[in-house]
Structure formats: structure tokens, C-alpha cells
Amino acid sequence: MKKGVMRPGHVQIRVLDMDEALKHYTDLLGLIETDRDDQGRVYLKAWSEVDKFSVVLREADEPGCDFMAFKVLNEEVLVQLEKDLVDYGVEVEQVPAEELKDCGRRVRFTVPSGHAFELFADKLYTGKWGLASVNPEAWPRGLRGMKAVRFDHCLFYGPELAATYDIFVNILGFDLAEQVLDPEGTRVAQFLTVSMKEHDVAFIHHEEKGKFHHASFYLESWEGVLRAADLISMTDTSIDIGPTRHGLTHGTTIYFFDPSGNRNEVFSGGDYFYPDHKPVTWKAEDLGKAIFYHDRVLNERFLTVLT
């Protein structure tokens, strides 16, 4: 049942070298730099997003994901969800407004899989990049590289999927759109949504806590995915796998790595979700087809290479 969480708001990604990373996320992915702060962090957004930023890059000794945040409807919802989290026994941390520039206060918490998430209600509304708010053209000129449309979701690897599910579904109002069950009926992958998308965040079981599998960006078409693959070759960017199709979600996809080894995905299409839909189930025995619908075998790298 919906509790007022709207959508993914931002992700903060650690990179080893800011200049290299920035070139990757702007020239190749097509994100737009919108600001920097005195900690050296760089703020980026995709062109169709209405808020000021959706990706924050932070230079660090070790790559990975610091946190992913969801935007909620308003302050009232934020107060209620914070209370619900605390009542459930989740430890929450207050991050003051402006800790990220032009972003309101954030409520940060860590789920049992070891990943940090945030909720926030306010961020500076800057509108879609390069388009007027009245009589907007179809798309803005001057987009680069893959022309990513939006930051779409993250996939995380970690333990305790059931306890993590309880927080997302029971407290935050996410729905389970797709899952992978092992022969004993244990859920080893969960795709969770607060929207019509097949996933706004996903988790795959892994012994080590807090691992980052990928951040994903939406493209308009399968042709866009193919063009992304061309650009990956043209720039000699480290590829993981694709272009191909997923069984899970049925989206068309390609995976590659940023210069610090964080995995990125660009994808298009895929199924949709309404709250009356029952979860789609894939069997763990058929994980190859579930993940790579065409090859039907797993690329070991996809399961084990994480930051």
C-alpha cells in the first residue's frame, strides 16, 4: 500500500578519480553537471528530471555507493515515515538541509542488507534541462553520449533480504514486482517498486553486506541501447555484458563499468506494474535465463564483481 514514497531521488557514488568519472558520466552517459560543493562533490542530473540533481559523485579511496535516496510527497509524509521507521526499530540519522546543496533535510537509515537509504521531501525544482515549461519541444538539443533520460534504479547485493523486504514493503509502502525463489522457496532476489516501473530498487542475496551492483539509467529505445553499445566501443569503456534482454522485467539492457569499477546499466522498455499485479516469479534454477534472456547462462562476473 502506498505510503507517500514517490520515486528514486538521488544516488551518491564513490569514485577514485573525479575527472575521469565526470568525463564518463557526462560525455558518455550524457548526464549534465549542475553544481559542485566545498567537499568536492559533483552534482549531476539527466535531462528529463525536474529536480536539480539525481547523481552525486564523491572522490574516495574505494568505489561503491554511499546511499540511495527516495523523494516523498511532502514534509508531512516525511515526518510520518520517520516515525514509522523508528517505531519499527530502525535507527534513523538526521541529515540537515543543505548538506547536499539545494536539498531539504534527509532521514537516513541502514537496512539489514547493509545499505544506506534516505528519504527527503524537498529539492530545488529546476525543470527539465534545456526545455521550456510551456510548449516544450520534444527533446533538448546539445545532449551528449547515451543521452540518458533519467536515473532509474539501483541493484544492491547483500544478506537478509526478508528483513530488508519488511522495511521497504511494510514501512515504506513498496510492492514486490518480481522475485527469484530458490527450490526451498527462499527469496534470493527481490525487485521492489513504488511506481509503475518493474523496480525502483532491487536486491540480490549475497553474503557480504552493503555491496553495490549497479546504478541504472533509462533510455528511450532499444536503438538507444544499441547506440550506447557503439559508444562503449568507441570510447574503449569497460563492458560487462550486452546488449541483451533480461528475463526479469524483460527490459533491454547493456552493462558497463565507470572508470572506478562501479557498474552502470542503461536500459529501455520492460514490463509495467500496478498494485493489483501479483509478483512475477523466476526460479533460481533458471537464473541464467532470468538475468540474460538470450544467452540463458550466467556471466560469472555479473554475480560476483561488485563495489
Binding site: 579511496d61 569499477g261 560469472e300 561488485l306
Partner: protein
């Protein structure tokens, strides 16, 4: 393009050429060699860890988790992020079985 450098792999007994400015991992990959597992190729995941026994090289940025400075000093580095300056002798440590069950 110069003649490059020879990288001798003590684990397999083989050797291959690495061009100037090319990472050891890329040279392996180009020749279809599978001395180490190929991960992110960005110094982030730690999959392509090798031991350099002899020779000089330049190092790109690597995750401190997988290549802490004290290990790098002993020649324990990630093949994707080292660029030979001389011929090298390397060793590829046996890899633990991948956790495919996850």
C-alpha cells in the same frame, strides 16, 4: 609504437607482450589469456590481483580495500591498473572459487 615489454607469468610459465602505456590486464585480454579473472577493469573490484616479483611499473588508482598501500609496496597489485616500465615477472595467485551460489 615501440616493441613493448615482456610480462613473464611464473604461474603458467608463459609470457606475453604489453605495449607501453597498456595495462597488464588489457594485454592479457587482447591475447585471449586467462591468467586472472577479469572484473571491472577499473581498479575497483579486486578480481585481477597479481603479484609482481620483478620489474618496474606505474600504478593507476586502485581501491584501497583491494590494494592497500602496504600491499602495493610488496607488489600485490591489480593487473588492470599497472603499466609496465620494464619487463615484468608476475605470479597469479590461485583464485578462490567464485560464489556462484549467491
Amino acid at each position: 609504437m615501440g616493441m613493448g615489454f615482456q610480462v613473464f607469468n611464473r604461474t603458467t610459465g608463459g609470457h606475453f607482450t604489453c605495449q607501453e602505456g597498456q595495462s597488464v590486464l588489457k594485454a592479457m585480454e587482447q591475447r585471449g589469456l586467462k591468467c586472472v579473472p577479469v572484473g571491472c577493469r577499473g581498479g575497483g573490484c579486486g578480481f585481477c590481483k597479481i603479484q609482481v616479483l620483478e620489474g618496474h611499473f606505474e600504478c593507476g588508482k586502485m581501491s584501497k580495500r583491494h590494494a592497500p598501500p602496504e600491499a602495493v609496496e610488496k607488489g600485490e597489485v591489480l593487473a588492470c591498473r599497472i603499466y609496465p616500465l620494464t619487463d615484468l615477472i608476475i605470479e597469479c595467485p590461485p583464485q578462490p572459487a567464485a560464489d556462484v551460489a549467491s
